[in-house]
């Protein structure tokens, strides 16, 4: 009991900071919005296809970015987790390297590459693969590319942690019992890496859902996601009620997805070692 109380004291500063600077303002905004306009801003959002489309775009871009990050990140993470090379730490630093450059700078970098007269188009036209420049910048594809670049380190870090904790002998045991490398992956490594997959996906999905800079700079003026729409409502439309309604709907969507993921995998996670009778 004594220990628990002391542990709580250690967590207290963080709890207080979150309470004062996050939870109270959130509640304040909600009350203020509801007092001024009632549920009108919320009803408008769910009845106007314009807004619903933005929500769908946000979810779609986030899902695609998460999925591709997982597909690209998994092999890299597996390699880093299993390599005995002296360069292992260097590889980890390279993975973390993008964090040194802000999202704004990186988005401008992608503009240089993806633009109509950008490096990519010049290259593809130069080797004769294209006659007309490809329109990538200011499309959803550009946003997804930028997003993956931004978020894949989080995916890889989550996966490396879990993959490293899988005993290599477990894989050898599977081989010795007649499992091909493919079977060993699907029956042993993949299920055992599930905790890392879940945390990586939730992290990337959440950060993608709330991203502002990447869709703003790479998606062009007509491309809207939830976070860019909040800013537009405030700065362009001066509609604070709509802005707070959108931010609340974004929050609840993310929360719903997270709860759904936790519920659907809790049984599995418990079996994997969360049990108390170990």
């Amino acid at each position: 009991m004594e220990r628990k109380r002391r542990a709580f004291l250690l967590a207290l500063p963080t709890v207080l900071a979150l309470l004062v600077f996050f939870l109270i303002p959130m509640v304040y905004i909600l009350i203020k919005t509801l007092l001024v306009n009632g549920f009108a801003d919320f009803t408008k959002f769910f009845t106007d296809p314009f807004y619903l489309n933005i929500l769908w775009t946000t979810v779609r871009v986030s899902l695609i970015s998460t999925l591709i990050s997982l597909l690209l990140g998994y092999p890299a993470a597996y390699f880093i987790a299993r390599t005995r090379s002296k360069l292992k730490n260097v590889m980890m630093i390279v993975i973390l390297f993008p964090f040194l450059v802000s999202a704004v700078v990186r988005s401008y970098g992608w503009m240089v590459i993806l633009g109509t007269n950008g490096i990519l188009n010049q290259f593809l036209q130069g080797i004769g693969l294209l006659s007309q420049p490809l329109k990538i910048l200011n499309t959803e594809a550009a946003v997804v590319i930028g997003m993956i670049h931004l978020l894949i380190p989080y995916m890889i870090l989550s996966l490396v942690g879990v993959l490293q904790s899988i005993d290599p002998n477990v894989e050898y045991a599977a081989y010795s019992l007649g499992a091909s490398p493919a079977k060993t992956f699907t029956k042993v490594v993949f299920p055992l890496s599930m905790p890392g997959i879940i945390s990586g996906c939730v992290l990337v999905f959440t950060m993608s859902m709330t991203s502002y800079v990447t869709p703003k700079l790479l998606g062009g003026s007509k491309f809207r996601m939830m976070a860019t729409m909040v800013v537009q409502e405030i700065n362009v439309n001066f509609n604070w009620g709509a802005a707070s309604a959108i931010s609340y709907i974004l929050l609840l969507t993310i929360l719903a997805v997270q709860v759904a993921v936790v519920l659907s995998t809790s049984g599995y996670m418990k079996r994997m070692g969360g049990g108390k009778n170990a």
Binding site: V170, Y172, Y175, L192
Partner: protein
């Protein structure tokens, strides 16, 4: 059932030679122990047989067929890992059934075979448990069942008893031997514990620095180590340096620090008179006596450690080197007591000194 043959097997990691030109041939149903300290190449040899790592040169023959081109998942070699390596996300049943399911056997046959092997390792009724819900000994038996259930042609055991407490060790030792004999599987056991090796194996191979030092029956290795190094590894602790003389009465004298010990002529075959050599004898074979005589030297007890079944003495003054008799009867000898120590001639092993031992 299969035979196993290693021919000129060599493994290198960069400049380091982990396994150096190994030659072994294992008969059908035989149990062989690879014995050696850490880094002696025993585990690397095991991993090459399993196919987890490729040899630098040489070949591995299973029932006369070279397995170099066969991937590990097609070798049908059962392996037991030191840390068990059970699948943590599967129940005991799923763990054991893993290999059988991959063979696409009918469900009822899988169930039958899993149940019978769990009976063999005395784990009936544990099939729905997860590995983390089992004790170390139970996990170990699951690992053994999982390696055996697919009826592998060769079974590899990596330090099978090292993680267990003393009581469980003896129990599992008997269990492993019983199951192995019952199924008649050709078995290689890797261990650093000489007691484990001599109690389990039909033949023991002592290794050091990637080379084989001695191959022999447990008794041979235990009583007649091929070199002072093997003797040291097999638990001999008394080593005495001396110079050997000419044979007299089928015995040869060895002058050690002014005293003369006689050794059987056969034990010193091939040693020229005047050769510096090392004598060794097991502590249990050294005895205390009341009467002076041949191979009996006086000394002073320096310390006595009571070990339940024996008292281990450190005796100084017999030779330049300390001697360590283990007395089975309770003795009241204390520090400073003068004792007569007898070294039975037929228990002494003689080795020509080599560079590394000097």
């Amino acid at each position: 059932m299969a035979t196993l043959e290693l021919k000129n097997l060599t493994k290198k990691f960069g400049d380091f030679t982990a396994v150096d030109n190994m030659n072994i041939s294992v008969a059908e149903g035989e149990m062989i122990a690879l014995l050696g300290g850490s880094g002696c190449g025993k585990t690397t040899t095991l991993r090459m047989i399993a196919g987890f790592t490729e040899p630098f040169s040489g070949s591995i023959l299973v029932s006369g067929k070279d397995v170099a081109k066969i991937p590990p998942y097609k070798r049908n070699i059962g392996i037991f890992f030191q840390n068990y390596a059970l699948f943590p996300h599967m129940t005991v049943f799923e763990n054991v059934a893993f290999g059988l399911k991959l063979q696409k056997l009918p469900k009822n046959e899988i169930k039958e075979r899993v149940e019978s092997i769990l009976g063999l390792v005395k784990l009936t009724g544990f099939d729905k448990r997860y590995p983390r819900e089992l004790s170390g000994g139970q996990q170990q038996r699951v690992a053994l069942a999982r390696a055996l259930v697919t009826r592998p042609s060769i079974l590899l055991l990596d330090e099978p008893l090292s993680n267990l407490d003393a009581t469980l060790r003896v129990e599992m030792q008997v269990e492993i031997k019983r199951i192995q004999t019952e199924l008649g599987i050709t078995t290689i056991i890797v261990t650093h514990d000489h007691e484990e090796a001599v109690s389990l194996a039909d033949r023991v191979i002592v290794m050091n620095a990637g080379r084989i030092l001695q191959i022999g029956s447990p008794q041979e290795i235990f009583d007649r180590p091929a070199s002072a190094f093997v003797a040291d590894f097999m638990g001999f602790s008394t080593f005495i340096h001396g110079t050997i003389g000419l044979p007299e009465n089928r015995k040869r004298p060895v002058v050690c620090s002014g005293h003369t010990l006689f050794v059987p002529e056969a034990a010193a075959a091939g040693l020229d008179s005047g050769t510096p050599c090392t004598l060794t004898i097991r502590s249990e074979n050294i005895c205390l006596t009341d009467e002076p005589g041949e191979n009996t030297v006086s000394g002073v007890v320096q310390s006595a450690t009571y070990r339940g079944h024996a008292t281990r003495l450190e005796v100084k003054g017999c030779f330049d080197e300390m001697v360590y008799p283990a007395v089975s009867d309770y003795t009241e000898k204390e520090n400073g007591n003068h004792v007569l120590v007898h070294f039975p001639a037929n228990r002494i092993c003689v080795y020509k000194n080599t560079m590394e031992e000097q």
